[in-house]
Symmetry: D2
Subunit: 139 residues, 4 copies
């Protein structure tokens, strides 16, 4: 993974993302991962919105998260995304979520996605999408 | 409004609906109103999901809310919904949100919805939908 | 309102903010308004997080929204925020939400907030907070 | 796991939980798991809200999810929760999420929680909480 290119985004924690424990609710991190891979894909030259218009939606098939330290309201968050596996029928992104200013690691996560046909069945990832994503050097 | 039938739902506040102030985040109440009118429509004999399948999605055009007292985690919430206006091109639901056990009023709200055609333009509400909703006695 | 300073933020629509109608779910706009006023307050020289630490949380007491056109996934959104009223016990922000690239108006909204004491009762807004917010020229 | 008691909840998918793909957004399932374990704990004789008031908040340290089939708007969902591990410093809940009417499996998930002290550090789970949770027969 060290040799693969990663992509970074930064944004501030929204008030509504926190819960009564005073920290970010754990489910919000999955939305942050989605934001990270959206911008990762855009950085390769095609928006995910365009991939959907071409009829290749990617659905999350598996997700795993480890929470190391809490994110708090108004914190500046950094999500680093890397495509770590590109198979014929699925692809895996790994994420590291840190406090942008201190560099403290807040969470790490991984999601595996599959391409769907219009009826919602998993299909082989089309060649042009594979070529696009493969531009990152992943295999 | 006193003479119009209302419909009630009850549910518990979810942890993720709270924010760091220790109370329910104000935007969540709009989702609760949506739950209220969904069950109101179902009580008239057709689910909103079925209305959408028939090609008559209803979009929220206006919303207003007044917050009287905070809802808290695990509170049992009651949403009372009433259809207060049924025009040719729009309809208005009013909501009262209370603490189910104490009866304390937490919020009151109103939303106006319009029917859309497939291209997203506001249309006259189809006669069968009007007849269904008119069964509540509203005008 | 024309003479009062406004503050602008821009961000992209997240996937999870959309609903099955293919557009942004109407409750999400309230969170966008919150983001707008957070940055508005920061632009005056104090973060809202700092205001909370000083013991002056602001709670939304009223909100109203008009939806003009739908926001879609990945759209670049612009929220313009202006403080339009600063009373002794409450303050009102108005918002215009537009499509950042086309300038199309998507929604307009207004929220009235009140300052709370630790027990959750509405209090007079402390003088230093009033002075800070009054720096915008509002009355 | 077969011998351990499980607890079931049922509820309908909310409109705002769906995304533009027409199905429930993947992050929402974590909130459903939270609802499942909240009611599981209540069924043992103490609400999670009461556990927090006693100063023993439980924070999610790890989560994993597998998505088998999509949940759709207005579907009746069933979440079955079982406590599968109760250690001195952490506990693990497993979840199976199904379509309540057809029994179709939609997702399976697991979350590991840790008890926190007021400063947010992981602590040994207090004896009375362990005794309460151990009433389920888990070890």
């Amino acid at each position: 993974m060290a040799d693969l290119p990663s992509h970074h985004i930064e944004f501030r924690v929204r008030y509504g993302e926190t819960d009564r424990m005073g920290v970010v609710y754990h489910a919000e991190y999955l939305a942050w991962c989605e934001m990270g891979r959206t911008e990762y894909i855009r950085s390769l030259g095609m928006s995910y919105a365009e991939m959907e218009r071409r009829g290749v939606p990617l659905a999350v098939a598996e997700a795993s998260l480890r929470y190391h330290a809490p994110a708090k309201y108004d914190d500046l968050i950094r999500v680093s995304t890397v495509l770590t596996r590109l198979g014929s029928r699925g692809l895996t992104f790994d994420y590291v979520i840190t406090h942008a200013e201190s560099g403290q690691r807040l969470a790490s996560a991984s999601t595996t996605l599959v391409a769907l046909d219009p009826s919602g069945r998993a299909i082989t990832i089309p060649a042009d999408i594979r070529a696009l994503l493969g531009g990152s050097g992943v295999r």
